[in-house]
Each structure stands twice: as C-alpha cells, then as structure tokens.
C-alpha cells in the first residue's frame, strides 16, 4: 500500500486537567472519505481542530505525507476545514468569500474570478450569485458556498466539522449525497466529523467510532454495522435489542428472562450482551420455529415510513421488531405473540 497521506501517532490533547483526545493512532489513505463518529464530548471536534492546525497537540505526532506538521500553523497547512457554523464572512459577497483563500495567496483578480465561477458551477450555484451577499443565501446555498471556499485553493485534505447538523432532514439527505459526489469528482481526501452514524454510513469509505477521546473501532461501514466491537458501538448504530447474558456451557444464559439462547460462535466471550437488530426478529406463526424464541405481548406499534416497528414486552424486557410495510404483522395490539431469531443473525458484545 502507498504511504498514507495523513498519519496520526499517539496524538493527545489536554485542556487543563481534562484529556479531550487520548493517544490516537490512525492512517488516512489518499483520496479516502473517512468519517469520525461519536457522541458530543467524545473529543472528535478537538481531534479535527488539531489536524486543521487550530489547536496545538499536547503530545504525539501528525504526519502529512511523512512530514511532521504539529507546529505548522493553520494558514500554512495544505488542508482546509468546513466549520459547523460554516464561518462565512458576513461582510463579503459570495464571490469574495470563495476567492478569499486565493486573495490571501496573492492570486490575480482575473484568475480568482475564473476559479470562483468554476466552483459555482461545480456546486450547482447560479453564476449570478457571484455578487450576492452571503447573508441573503439559504441554508443549503450557504453549505455549498462554504464548500466552494474550502476547495478554492486546492487543499489536499478537507475537514468537515458537523456542517450539516443544523440543516433539516430532507435537505441534509440531499447534501450528503452531493458531498459524496463532490468527493468522487475532486478525488480529494475528505475527513468528516458527525454524531450521526446514519450520515456516516451514507458517505464514508471508512468510519472511526470515537468515545471519551479514543477511537474504539475503525472499519468500513459494513464492518461497523455487522460486527460492532462492543455495547457502545452497537448501541450507537441505532436501535438494537440488547440482552445481558453470561456463558453457560454451550449456551448463553439471560438472567432477566431466565432463558438460555444460542449465540454466534465466539472465542473467549464470558459475559456481556447479546445484540439482535430489530429487523432480524421474526413473528412466528403457529407451527413455525426459530433457533431462539420468546413469547410476549404486542404492546405498541410505530410507523417509520417504509417500515413498521413493534414493541413486544416479554416480562420486564422490551423487544423491538422491525418489518417492511409489506411484511407487516397482521394482528391486534395486546395479542400474545411469539418472536424468534437465528443464532447467526445475532452478535456478541463484551461490556
């Protein structure tokens, strides 16, 4: 494999007595779309701010193509960041915002204008926007302007610090796809920060899950989704059914249901959680059976658009079952139902 464009080794950041980022090791490949996901306070913003040069690391190294850039100030790094607030200059027009990095580098007016026009086209903004005030642009337009500005000086890596978090759902979905298209079109390395795994799944080549300043799992979206490393990652992946279990011979004993289940093959697992995604649970008709099954009461149902989610109560335990609308369960609330799943569809997560 070629040399990584960005290598972090032992990267650490303290704020007073608080450690925001702890000993991070990570290689980012050229042209990759890498996303860091984590809850707020996990240190992901601090991490990306160090990479952009806005925060000085307390320890460890940042290597850009093998060269240490720890002390290089932000304005001399070939990287650029799209801020959460976008940080567009309110006293400048759209064109002046996009040209800003070029003006700082002494690019001639004519060349600047040509580049700005090209970027407006790339981002599907009308060229008439060149002289418009940024304060008069809509949320989606402002996103595109911020991206155009970041691309203007041809940086090698673009960082994104949750720029889509304040945008409504529908527009966000559109912009996510657009961003992925721009990534493909420009071939640049993108590093994206978000607290939404859904967002990360749509766009990324690889995802790093961050918690308490550490990267707890790195992998492709597929790997993270199907093989979460622990309870935290699996819960972060969206709604899942978690059963606290203990190994008991060949089976897994669940004290809360006083039942024993068969789980996937796993070495060295002693106690932790059995993780079953709602879509892998089935309603069993009389006469049907599954490797694992429990009986409970259908307590409520929620329509999630194309899918329907059911809440099934088994004693104190609540199970979520999800079905496509066309495969919905035909029955009434408060029915007694039997639900089941296959061992290969479940996962084991240590504490």
């Amino acid at each position: 494999m070629a040399e990584p464009i960005l290598r972090l080794s032992g990267l650490t950041k303290h704020f007073g007595g608080f450690t925001a980022v702890k000993q991070i090791d990570l290689d980012i490949e050229e042209g990759e779309f890498f996303t860091i996901v984590g809850p707020s306070g996990s240190g992901k913003s601090t991490l990306v701010r160090m990479l952009a040069g806005l925060e000085e690391p307390s320890g460890g190294e940042i290597l850009l193509r093998g060269e240490r850039i720890n002390e290089t100030p932000a304005n001399r790094r070939p990287t650029c960041m799209v801020f959460q607030s976008l940080a567009l200059f309110p006293h400048r027009t759209v064109g002046q915002n996009i040209e800003f990095p070029l003006k700082m580098r002494g690019v001639a007016r004519k060349a600047r204008r040509a580049r700005a026009m090209g970027l407006l086209r790339l981002l599907q903004l009308p060229e008439s926007y060149y002289g418009k005030s940024v304060t008069q642009c809509s949320g989606g337009e402002r996103q595109r302007i911020a991206l155009a500005r970041a691309l203007a000086f041809d940086p090698e890596i673009l960082f994104f610090d949750e720029p889509l978090s304040a945008i409504d759902y529908k527009l966000r979905k559109t912009l996510e796809k657009e961003l992925k298209d721009i990534h493909k079109e420009t071939g640049k390395t993108f590093m994206y920060i978000t607290h939404s795994l859904e967002e990360a799944m749509v766009m990324s080549d690889r995802i790093g899950v961050m918690r308490d300043g550490k990267l707890v799992q790195i992998g492709t979206p597929e790997e993270i989704y199907t093989r979460p490393r622990d309870k935290f990652v699996s819960e972060f992946m969206g709604e899942v059914n978690l059963l606290k279990v203990k190994r008991n011979g060949a089976g897994l004993h669940c004290p809360s249901l006083d039942a024993t289940f068969t789980g996937p093959a796993s070495k060295g697992f002693d106690s932790g959680y059995l993780v079953i995604r709602p879509e892998y649970l089935r309603f069993l008709k009389p006469g049907e059976s599954a490797e694992n099954q429990v009986e409970g009461v259908l307590y409520n149902e929620y329509a999630l658009g194309s899918r329907i989610q059911y809440q099934v109560r088994v004693g104190e335990q609540v199970f979520l079952v999800e079905k496509l609308r066309e495969q919905r369960y035909h029955g009434r609330l408060d029915d007694r139902v039997t639900i089941g799943w296959e061992a290969r569809d479940s996962m084991l997560a240590p504490e």
């Binding site: 704020f15 007073g16 608080f18 925001a20 707020s40 306070g41 913003s45 601090t46 701010r49 040069g53 806005l54 925060e55 000085e56 100030p73 932000a74 304005n75």
Partner: protein, 271 residues
Amino acid sequence: MGGPGKSRGPGRMGGWIGAWTLLVIVFLYLPVACGVLASLSQSRYFGFPITQWSTRWWQRTVDSIEIGILIQTSVLIALMVTAVSVVLAFMGALAFARYDWRGRKIFQRIVLLPIFFPQAVLGLALLLWFNTLGLPLSWKTAVFAHLVWIVPIATLIISIQVYSFDAALEEAALDLGATRWQVLREVTLPVLGPGIFSGALFAFLLSWGNFPLSLYTTGADSTVPEYLYAKMVAGYTPGVPTLGALTTGGAAVILVVGYVSWIFMRRAQGR
C-alpha cells in the same frame, strides 16, 4: 466543544496582551495612588519622597463638620438619582430592547444623544434653562441635571440584559394564568434583576463622582467633587487628596459590595 480553543502561538501573544493590560491598569491607578500618598504626608506642602508620615489630615477630614455636610449632600443626590434612574431606565430599556414598536430605532438614537454630548456644555445649558424658568438652584436641580445624563446610561446597561431576555418566558407565564402585573413581578423583574442592579450601581457611582454637571446646577449647595475642585484651585492642603482618597475608598467599598451581591444574584438565578 473543544474547550477554550486558542489558535497559533497563544502563549506568547496572550502574554504580551496581559502585560499591556497590566500597564494600562497601573496607568489608571497611578494618580489615585499619588493622591493617597499625598494624604499621608505630615507637611502642608507636598514633596516626594515623603519625609514625615502622618494621619493627621485623615483625622481632620473625618472630624470636619463641613465635610460631613458635603458627603451628606453628595449621598442624598446620588440616592435620589439612583431611585429615579432605575425606574425610568427600566421602562426605557424595555422600549429600547424588548418591544418592537414603530419609533424604536429613533428612540434608541435619542437615548444616546445626552451621552454623546459634552457634559460641561450640558451643565451650562441646564443652568440657562433653570434660570429662564426662574427655578432656584439647589441640590434638587442637581438631581435633575444628573438624571439627564445618567438615565440614558442606565438605560443602555439594563438594555444589554433585556436583549438576552427570552420573551417566551413572559408568554409562558401569561399562558399559565398570570396577570400582566404578576408577570412583571414574578418573571420579568426577577430575570432582569442583575441588569437592573448594575444599572442602579452605575447610577449611584456616576452621580457620586460627577463634577461638570454639579458645578453649574447645585447653587449654594455643594458636592464633594465641587468642594475639592474649589480647594485645588484656591490653595492646596493635604486635606484635598485626603478627601479624594476618602471618596475613592467609599466608591470602592460600594462597588465591591455591589459586585459581590451581583454575583450572588446571578448564582441564585442558576447561571
């Protein structure tokens, strides 16, 4: 997120700025310190370094009946100014920052005018005006003169707090069944409390220290700053810096007590 993010080379520049600020503070307090030094000198004429220290000028100042009356007058004026300013400025601040009404932009500019106006000229203009009306000058006219300058300042100070006031709080209270008057008493006033309090503190202290407006509007009554000015011009005794230091100390005590109670008020509000 991210804590107090400081960018490129924060340490060195922060250090320079800190040092510069320290110098500015020293610059501001140097003459105050000179006054205190002078008040502690034994001799009638000031000379530095001070050869003989003494507190007799302090003794004399504290014992003086004349100065007692001056301080009474100054405090009386300041208290009256504070009481009236707070009421007017509170309403003014609502008009300035809370209500959306047609004349608001103009009102905001009108409020600023007396602040952007030379005080000495304002004092003389008021003197002419009182004279035209045939009003005898006394501490009462001085209270009015102070108000013209201090109410706008207090309005600005309270406005800053009003800007951060969430109007939904009042609506919620109304929705929960409170009357307009209850809303004011139970919600608006307590939430704006710290702002109103700083407005009052400023009003008192600015009136206490004011000279240019008092000079022309007190008539036969005299405030401490006026008396000091007369003494500075008419013949120095160490009594001048002594009384100066005394008034400074008084203002400092009020400010510190005020600041501490202000902090407690904010705490009590839980923010």
